[in-house]
Amino acid sequence: MSGTPLLELRGVDKSFGPVQVLHDVAFSVHPGEVTALVGDNGAGKSTLVKCISGIHGTDAGEYFFEGQPVTINGPRDAAALGIEVVYQDLALCDNLDIVQNMFLGRERRSGLVLDEPAMEEEAARTLASLSVKTISSLRQHVSSLSGGQRQTVAITKAVLWNSRLVILDEPTAALGLAQTAQVLELVRRLADNGLAVVLISHNMNDVFAVSDRIATLYLGQMVAQVRTTDVTHAQVVELITSGRSGRLGTATETGNGYLSTRVAGAAE
């Protein structure tokens, strides 16, 4: 439907010693769409994300970016492709202000000196492009922000770098209702601005509120990757907990996850 996926993984295996965490996983992410990555604890969501972002290498499998096969040897390679991950624990420095955090490690300079006005303008522009209205001053310390505002800063930071694919690890886990709504709105806007978004979440309401596709991991296998409109809450919960729901998913002992994804894809 939306042509070539921005990111496509095929047949990815990953083991930590004797424990195989990912079995023959296929995963694709399209630009302009929010792909929810769901699965129970230990299903391999975090490992998959770390493989995508280059923190872990893969044991087997192919990695395509914009249809081209690429090799990812570390986080830098992934970042160079425009892949940004916003982790659950945010990774912001409390003692720095919003602009300083957004540009941390990639400061604008003019000569030797930091170009503060340029950074501040760019940060304001990025926030404006995402219609963020919840932040009053860019020069306040991150420590004085609410959970939702911090999440907003972390997400905006990821967007600042001409990123193509933003992976959000449970962005609403610790937020109240109003703040969750704000962050979900921001997630939706990222996709509407043309980015590919991967949203990891345990919250089915969030998933159904913003996602275009749902990818379900079950015991390290990708049991289904479907359009959100084609499934119900109950089906997704069933996929997460048992690996199958009606004709969706195939959590067999042999673990034929790759095939099942194709089947699900055909159902589109």
Binding site: C93, P117, L127
Partner: protein
Amino acid sequence: MTTRTRTVHTEPVAAVGQPTLSGHVQGYLARLRGGDMGALPAILGLVVLCVFFSVLRPNFLTAGNFANLFTQGAAVVLIAMGLVFVLLVGEIDLSAGFASGVCAAVLANLLTIQGYPWYVATLAALGTGVLIGLALGFLVTKVGIPSFVVTLAGFLAFQGVMLMLIKGGTSVPVQAEPIVAIENNNLPPLVGWLLAAVVVTGYAASQLLRYRNRSVRGLVTDPLSVVLVRIGTLAVGVGGTVHVLNLERSLNSLISSNRGMPVVVPLIALLLVALTFVLSRTAYGRHVYAVGGNREAARRAGISVDRIRISVFVVCSSMAAVGGVVAASRFSSVDANTGGSDVLLYAVGAAVIGGTSLFGGKGRVVDAVLGGAVVAVIDNGMGLMNASSGVKYLFTGLVLLLAAGVDALSRRRAVATGNR
């Protein structure tokens, strides 16, 4: 005009109108209440102490004693300026005092015992500081020994190295003219005024340029009145200092004149400006704060955390070396006490009293100077009151405790008000 620029761009969410003077003051008070005390405790403490000693000992408030404060406090302030870097990343360097002693001993050894020219000896002393910092940093970051332990070991070991360098604790004289001049010679009064003018104009230019730059771009700035007050305060402070230092301090000026700024004052000012620039205007400085604020966030942002941590130890030990050279200059000799006894604790105290946090991530180089002034005033005032060493140590210890208490309490308050 600013409003027009703003409407031309896409609506900048962040710009919430230029704060007024009263808004600025309110913001400052709110920060104070929120536990962000900055340099306020040090300045208040300084004022209280000066009043206290002036009332009890009128000769505290003489031009001669004022100049003494600078020469007495110089070494501690210089060491404290380096310590700020280490404290900023949440480490500690207990060996900085004796590191300055070792560097002073290298200087004295090369100058007097081996007869090298002064510049060779000075470079060797500074180089020793760099090497010490590299070694400490390596042990802390690459081997992974806590900095407290590494530098405690350094505290003992450097004392030993120093004793060996000065042949078992004899007093080695340092007579090279340029070295001795740092603490014992004065600049001509006119040069003092020229330097003051340069400092004030430079500060004013940088502040006003920044103000113009930001307001032209429609970014939030401090009100112009606040900028002007800041410049005015600095001008008055620097001017007053230079004026007093230029007063005649000699009892009989016909025999020998003793007036002008001690050479060490511009040295401290230069290093203060340079290190402040590094911390607040360069990417390196930003990364130092980031490592102190959240090491994991810094690592994920692609900052080489180990390199930053090693570098702060290098800065600290190098500044200790400068402090060591200044200490050697002050007494025109190096003995077993150089950089020893209370130097380190005074330096840590200076940084903390000035407002640098022991918990990392918060602090400025100027803190070391302000806190160092407090320490120097206590030391000097107690001396004038003929207080015994016991009382002096007790008093300084209490002040340090008070400063660390203020740090811890304001931190707690900051956490409570979500302003960590």
